[in-house]
Subunit: 319 residues, 2 copies
């Protein structure tokens, strides 16, 4: 590992936020030496707890994240926030209407906020988010909150390996339950009905509860439904108590750690292979040539792919 | 290629919808021989046009898809519909409230509807959708409409290679523009403001127009904004005219076909590698063993990944 990395890691270990930030960027960009750096950092990881917050755009996830973060800081914890939501004010995505002010937590010294581009990273988003969480973990964060839009597949994967997954719904979005049902219902440890001062909040709580009853009848444990008005800070105390509560009782979920390592290993290999294909295929214009062959109907795409894959097959992890 | 595949392909060529359906399923599942089958089918592809419809949940994408499909059928075209949206009634995702009735088009003989699971397919969703479109194309469809939730990264990728991309917004979802801005604005060829009988529809049109002005100032061509009330069929005629119109003028977008082939080739290789890793890594319990080593702190994940990847590196398409 070169001297730059060693210096950055040393600086990070003494608490330099600048070093933390640089390491994250370099690992995200897969700069040479990143794997050695992660190996070095790895022994310091494993203590932070991950809280995933997901739900449709406009559900108030960022405000909730902000408030939860603030309360956890009050209790003496060190917090990291990862915003994978492109519309999150954390990631600079808010463009119209009231720009939510994220000053509450992002001004605090014990909070480190990182937003992640969801575009241009075709694939591997989950793994990037996991890498960032690992680095924050090594830095000494106690809780890392990952905020993500809960509609896309990749985005759901991001929170899947969190210790606690919070699914946020709001009244008046008739379709939000549909989306939840279809994609993220079964990964929720806690449901939050935000903007609960709206008149149809009770109805939404009942809708969610009745969905959960069905699942409970099948023997699944029933996640709590908590009402909040994040902008006014209402219900956040309850929510944070519940998070910490579940965190304790989840401590010993059997097989949980194994599953997480498995996902991590597969994610790392996947991302690595994809990155390399994208970087290498067009060296010496090979991909360009293949494209031209398809265009000129000299070859079909499948024959080309078989040719590219075949030398790899025998070497894949199988043996 | 075995006799089963040959029979299915022959049957599909004579117009059997059952054969079409079976081929799609087998290719989706990557059953043995799928690549040979695609090679066989490939020469029959290239004629269908792809229409991508995207937008947040509840924007009315399915109803629009339905109506557009109906009108295209009226004009004598053969239509395929691919629903990647988990909340789409096409894919059986509607669970509460008024279940939109999709009988209009799905009853018609000239329309073939296929929904795709967005879960459990971690990665490769885009490529699966592209495969399905290719098979429908070979079957003789003139237009293939892909409906997808426009928030997730993977979901946006799905429509990126469509010939025409329609982004659907609705008034009253304050945050829909945010989400659009953040993720899919620049891929839109047409904006649709659906539910345009709501009072704040004009405001939304103006908001979109003003965003587009900014882009237009940067020299980009300005996509049209069309108002519809899909449930009443209002504005659909205009929309379909516009789609066909643009389709004609886009005929010769320079570099478009090359880009599409490039995406296709990379997508196929990616999916193939990922599938193989997932299938093969745990043969002989190798992955299980690796997980255990990490759990017991005998090895870190990065060392394991390096070990798995290293024999592949020299063989990647580079040389």
């Amino acid at each position: 590992m070169n001297a730059k990395w060693t210096k950055l890691i040393d600086d990070m270990k003494t608490g330099s936020v600048v070093a933390l930030s640089k390491i994250i960027t370099r690992v995200e960009n897969r700069e040479p030496g990143w794997m050695e750096a992660m190996k070095q950092i790895y022994p310091d990881t494993g203590d932070a707890k991950l809280i995933g917050i997901t739900g449709s755009p406009g559900a108030g996830k960022s405000t909730l994240t902000n408030k939860i973060g603030g309360l956890l800081v009050d209790r003496g914890f060190k917090i990291g926030i990862i915003a994978v939501d492109p519309s999150s004010p954390f990631s600079g995505g808010a463009i119209l209407g009231d720009r939510i002010r994220m000053t509450d937590v992002s001004d605090l010294e014990s909070v480190f906020v990182r937003s992640m581009a969801t575009r241009g990273t075709l694939g591997g988003l989950n793994q990037s988010a996991r890498d960032v969480a690992k680095i924050m973990d090594a830095f000494g964060k106690d809780y890392i909150i990952i905020e993500t839009v809960g509609v896309g597949q990749d985005e759901v994967e991001v929170v899947k390996t969190a210790d606690i997954v919070i699914v946020v719904c709001v009244p008046g979005q008739g379709d939000s339950i549909q989306a939840i049902k279809a994609g993220i219902m079964e990964i929720a440890d806690i449901f939050v009905v935000n903007k609960a001062d709206r008149e149809d909040a009770e109805q939404l709580v009942m809708d969610i509860e009745s969905m959960l009853e069905l699942d409970a009848a099948l023997g699944k444990s029933k996640p709590p439904v908590i009402k909040t008005v994040a902008t006014k800070g209402e219900g956040i105390l309850d929510l944070v108590d519940k998070i910490l509560d579940l965190m304790t009782s989840f401590g010993s979920k059997p097989g949980w750690e194994e599953e997480r390592i498995r996902v991590e290993l597969i994610g790392l290999v996947e991302k690595e292979l994809l990155d390399r294909i994208k970087k290498n295929w067009n060296k010496n214009g090979r991909l360009d040539k293949a494209v031209r062959q398809v265009l000129d109907q000299e070859k079909d795409p499948y024959s080309i792919v078989q040719q590219v894959i075949s030398p790899l097959i025998s070497l894949l992890p199988e043996d």
